[in-house]
Point group: C2
Chain length 124, copies 2
């Protein structure tokens, strides 16, 4: 068998092929976890993920995540892990570009049904 060499993924090239916001695109999978690129602007819905932590890595722009107890601001070159069961609301005044890491099958709006609920299997 001629095993293939793993292919690198370039974030800029991937962002160039989509413009929709709040719609995470899967770019890679490690075991049962996926890496997703997403464009965020405006205010998301309050939600939580009861079964899993969720990782936000900011590649461009700034992101605010509101919690019941206060807010954090993330700039490019920063990341945060939101613990499972922790109610939160991402928002961004201007568009932020992020890399998300989460288990396969995580719904972007968690336990909250919303018009912003995105499809689960959107590979780029």
């Amino acid at each position: 068998m001629n095993r293939q060499i793993p292919l690198p993924v370039n974030f800029t090239e991937k962002f160039a092929v989509f413009n929709d916001q709040w719609a995470p695109k899967i770019i890679a999978q490690m075991n049962d976890y996926q890496f997703k690129l997403v464009r965020l602007q405006g205010e998301f819905v309050w939600h939580e993920h009861t079964d899993t932590d969720e990782t936000f890595i900011v590649l461009e722009g700034s992101l605010v995540i509101d919690f019941k107890e206060g807010s954090v601001t993330l700039n490019a070159g920063e990341m945060v892990v939101v613990p499972k069961g922790c109610l939160h609301r991402p928002r961004a005044d201007t568009e932020a570009k992020l890399l998300l890491v989460e288990p396969v099958g995580v719904v972007n709006t968690g336990d909250t049904q919303s018009a912003l609920t995105a499809p689960l299997d959107d590979w780029l």
Copy 2:
């Protein structure tokens, strides 16, 4: 209970407090996966991880990963997932700064014992 707000991690600030190479520092944990910053320069050992995939995200500089079938070059803003059981050797002519993602307990040299084998629980 007054739940704490999750704290953002700034990559530049974390890199500022260590200079050793090939010594991954844990900066965050998501479920049973960890995020590690590492400085790489020179040639690592050939190794494989029989039980898990491994993710390399280049933050600064360039990294080459050699495989038996060929090599890939990763620049800043690029990532690759090396599948489990895939023999590989990272190397970098000049220092590269990376973010690694892998399960808790992964040894950096995999199945290969080496002077470069790093401690498992080096939180920053």
